[in-house]
Amino acid sequence: MTPDTTDIAILRHLARDATLKASEIGRRVGLSQPATWRRIQRLTEAGIIAGRRLDLDAGKLGFGVTVFLGVKLSTKSRTNLEDFERAISAIPEVQTVEHVLGLYDYRLRVTARDLPDFERVLRRRIMTLPSVGNVEANVLLSEERRPGPL
């Protein structure tokens, strides 16, 4: 599907607040509730709305540290990649795993209670995986999501 400007407006509202009712969004974009609901359905079926994300204050929940790790594998056969991906994805503190091209093979987002807790995850769970070579760590200081080209 090719979304029109009304669809984009709907996306903009939902990206800000996914709990908005179709009637409320419809009022804002000038459509009836059923028409808005049908458009949201279509956007969801097309995979453009890929789900919902809960916005939690990680710090208040006791997760004070987020670290991005760039990981280079020491050996790169196909089975190594698959084994690494499976093992790393199973670690609950590892929030995202991205396969990248460039300086590193993988980019990981790791959350932890504090730096000692992060060190535990890094040493006991990540560095112990076979084929992990070079690792670079950057501690997240601030983060913002932008609305993007909507």
């Binding site: 916005d55 208040k60 991205e98």
Partner: protein
Amino acid sequence: MLDDSDRRLLRHLQADPGQPIGELAEAARLPLATAYKRLDRLKDEGILRGQHAVIDWQALGYAVEVSLRITLDKTNPRAFDDFLAAAREVPEVIEIQTFLGRVDARLMVIARDLPEYQKVYRNRILTLPHIADIEALMQVATIKNTQSLPL
């Protein structure tokens, strides 16, 4: 303070934010009224800040996704502020992060195709203030993306 029931509630909500509250209460083994009350309290305390629709930019036609790791010229005391303010003005930038480490900031940039990316990169990114160095990582695949907390 959070107790086990709060954690259970958040864990189930995190796994499926769109589920009806009746199902959520049942999954967290809480009476409906208690679930409502606890969710309200978590919102009031600023722990539960809201819900956002996740947009799949690829499905929307943005095929290129590049992660730019940026080193800033820290001899200028306003480097971070100026850079961040200018980066916010670029619509193709969908994420901005700052770090303590080898890299100072990271921008996630999307574009419909490589020629468009090149245009954005040259006209909007390279012109951002106080950049000392840029490294690009191209996203090949996302293997895991829960962004959820291990509650």
